[in-house]
């Protein structure tokens, strides 16, 4: 009888150990699925799902489960979404969020959940990783300043703009974008006499339109989604004819796919971006094709959001594979693998992290052009490889210039 009991318990033990060797890895994805950013946020989710689809939904026999949560672009909504994913769904890692200030909030939150790994989505505020970084927060992508590298230089030297007015939304991401643009533009000798910071979600820009100084050569517009559409429309209706320089999300494919007569203004506009829908690189074509195949109802090409969520989720899949799915010991091995990871990105560069766990990335200077069917696309003017967060400057000088804000940098 005792033997039987023993045999039964051995059997039970071995039965229990089977699922233990093939654990389920849960990934929480946070993106904005409501309000003005809903279409963009949806594309972010597609990117993360694509990375999981590519490995067939499992890594080394560990099934990967994706759980999505929506935030609404506000920091506290991102924190709530992350708490729900961690405490109720028990996720092992989080991919997200989408928007700048949300990223800062999750960076802070990550310090209270040392057992969970945070992989940034597309949020691109500078200080998410530069100052006060967190050991378990990784960004496999650039910040808003890295995304503008090449543009200030191009605007001053190639387009010949000496003086540029800035219109941008009033929060961390556009501050960072303006920094990226002005760092190059000002050191080349350009002037930025005025900056207009408008509330996010502003509808009526007409008074800003009339406040733009008449003697500037161009306008740098760092507005996203409906805000960009509204500004550009009202600017063109008021007879505005200054050339436009675009921020990274001002001329994203989702904006170019929007409906309305405002789009004529954008043809020929240069911009800085890490993601070009029409890029003809080999890796990008393959990425774009698999995106279109997996999501026939998606955009005509992956947006900046799909691209960045994809890179973060892909990094997680690669690191998981490197450690054979071992997430024990507070994911120490997994994080070491993430830190040392290098892989080829969809834009053909080599993704790797700096010491603050921020990506060293490729960046593009692009130009909007009209395709043969009348729709708009971006084409590449130049590619800048290996852009780091310090924009090529030495660390002490860069940090000494202080955190970005409405008034920093300045070159009136």
């Amino acid at each position: 009888m005792n033997k039987l009991k023993l045999a039964a318990s051995v059997l039970a033990l071995s039965a229990m150990s089977v699922p233990a060797s093939a654990e389920e890895v849960k990934i929480g994805v946070i993106s904005i699925l409501e309000g003005a950013f809903a279409a963009l946020g949806q594309d972010g989710i597609r990117g993360a799902e694509l990375a999981v689809l590519e490995v067939g939904g499992e890594v080394d026999g560990n099934k990967v489960e994706v759980i999505t949560m929506s935030s609404d672009a506000s920091p506290d909504s991102a924190v709530n979404a992350a708490r729900k994913l961690i405490e109720q769904d028990g996720v092992d890692m989080i991919v997200g969020p989408l928007s700048g200030s949300e990223g800062l909030a999750l960076r802070d939150l990550s310090k209270s959940y040392p057992a969970v790994t945070f992989l940034n989505g597309s949020s691109a505020a500078q200080d998410t990783t530069l100052r006060d970084s967190s050991d378990n927060f990784f960004r496999f992508g650039g910040d808003g300043a890295q995304w503008m590298v090449g543009v200030g230089d191009y605007a001053y030297n190639d387009m010949g703009y000496k003086s540029v007015a800035v219109i941008a939304e009033d929060y961390s991401f556009p501050y960072t974008q303006v920094l990226g643009f002005m760092t190059e533009f000002c050191s080349a000798g350009g002037k930025v006499p005025e900056k207009f910071w408008t509330p996010i979600g502003n509808k009526d820009y007409s008074s800003v339109v009339y406040s733009i100084p008449q003697d500037v050569d161009a306008i740098f517009v760092a507005l996203g989604g409906a805000d960009a559409v509204n500004f550009l429309t009202q600017y063109s209706q008021a007879g505005g004819d200054k050339p436009i320089i675009g921020g990274s999300i001002t001329i994203d494919q989702s904006i170019l796919d929007s409906k309305g007569p405002f789009k004529k203004l954008l043809v020929g506009a240069p911009a800085g971006t890490p993601t070009v829908s029409d890029y003809d690189g080999e890796e990008w074509s393959a990425f774009s094709a698999s995106y279109t195949e997996a999501f026939p109802d998606g955009f005509s090409a992956p947006s900046i959001f799909a691209h960045h969520y994809y890179m973060s989720a892909k990094a997680a899949m690669l690191a998981l594979d490197a450690v054979d799915g071992d997430l024990s010991n507070d994911q120490a091995a997994f994080r070491a693998a993430l830190t040392d990871l290098t892989f080829v990105t969809p834009t053909g560069g080599t993704m790797r992290l700096d010491k603050n766990r921020n990506g060293i990335v490729d960046n593009f200077v692009t130009e909007v052009y009209e395709r043969e069917d009348g729709s708009l696309g971006n084409r590449v003017v130049k590619v800048v490889r290996d852009v780091d967060q310090l924009l090529g400057q030495d660390e002490a000088t860069f940090l000494a210039s202080g955190p970005v804000s409405r008034d920093n940098p300045s070159c009136p």
């Binding site: 809903a38 009202q234 209706q237 007879g239």
Partner: protein, 288 residues
């Protein structure tokens, strides 16, 4: 000086849009004491339907009319199908209308997606006008917007002050029970007023989609501005809605031009001031 005048003009045109959006909201509240939180959703629905109609037919006028009618129908359905069942229970109505607005917003997101839409303007409205004296370009659509709001305001005034239907509405505002006792089918009148309010919202939606743009979230923006406008102007008064819209529109534009970062504060400062000094609104009647 030029900037000041231009900004004032911008304030007036924005006020025109806010008036169009808020008048229906105020009308419904005046008669039924219903705070219709689905008003923004009706506006957005009108805007989307208007866009689709203009896209197919190419006629802007038809788009405005169609958007208005679609929102009128939706408004009538909301009153006849849901809010009518809880007449007199204002809190429940308010909560139910919030639920309706969320459901409508999600359905619209599902059907039209999250893209930003702009209604294509007819030739006459598309360009800009060189303003005399000021010597700067100004968008035709914004000038037309003021004319449109003025015409709508006058038509509304005529309807309410000079027609039999208007007399019934006014009687209903003053004494609903008496109106019912006199044998007027108050339920049907409520549905009609809701349709009228929806119509105004829907047309405002198409106009907003032409002058500015619409996207998910526009519903809440206009609901909020309508709320502020009627709180400042006085619930249930068309003149109050006009005055409130003027104040809010001007405050917003001056704020945007002279203190862009804190522009939003001006609007709410006005609201706080009005609530502190004259809680029934500038032209509102005090509750007995």
């Amino acid at each position: 000086m030029t900037l000041f005048l231009i900004v004032t003009l911008n304030g007036l045109t924005l006020a025109a849009l806010y008036f169009l959006a808020a008048s229906g909201f105020s009308l419904i509240f005046g008669l039924m004491r219903t705070v219709n939180m689905a008003h923004g959703a009706l506006l957005l629905l009108g805007g989307y339907v208007g866009y689709s109609i203009v896209d197919v037919t190419g006629s802007w006028g038809l788009g405005v009319l169609g958007g208005g009618l679609a929102a009128a129908l939706a408004g009538a359905l909301v009153q006849a199908g849901v809010l009518g069942w809880m007449q007199g229970d204002e809190l429940r109505q308010t909560l139910a209308s919030i639920a309706i607005s969320i459901i409508m917003a999600d359905l619209m997101l599902w059907y039209w997606g999250g893209l930003t839409y702009q209604v294509a303007l007819p030739e006459a409205l598309a360009g800009g006008q060189r303003l005399p004296i000021l010597g700067v370009g100004y968008a035709n659509i914004r000038l037309a917007l003021m004319a449109f709001a003025l015409a709508t305001g006058l038509a509304l005034w005529f309807l309410i002050q000079r027609t039999r239907f208007g007399a019934v509405i006014r009687a209903g505002v003053d004494d609903q029970d008496m109106l019912r006792a006199l044998g007027y089918p108050i339920g049907r009148i409520f549905v009609l007023v809701f349709a009228l309010g929806g119509m105004l919202a829907g047309m405002a939606g198409v106009v907003a989609a032409s002058a500015l743009s619409i996207a998910p979230g526009t519903d809440l923006q206009f609901l909020l501005s309508s709320l502020v406008v009627v709180i400042v102007g006085g619930m249930g008064s068309i003149g109050g809605a006009a005055l409130g819209a003027l104040l809010v529109g001007l405050a917003e534009q001056y704020g945007l031009a002279y203190a862009p970062t804190y522009g939003v504060v001006f609007t709410f400062a006005i609201m706080v001031l009005v609530l502190a000094v004259r809680p029934q609104g500038l032209l509102g009647k005090a509750e007995q």
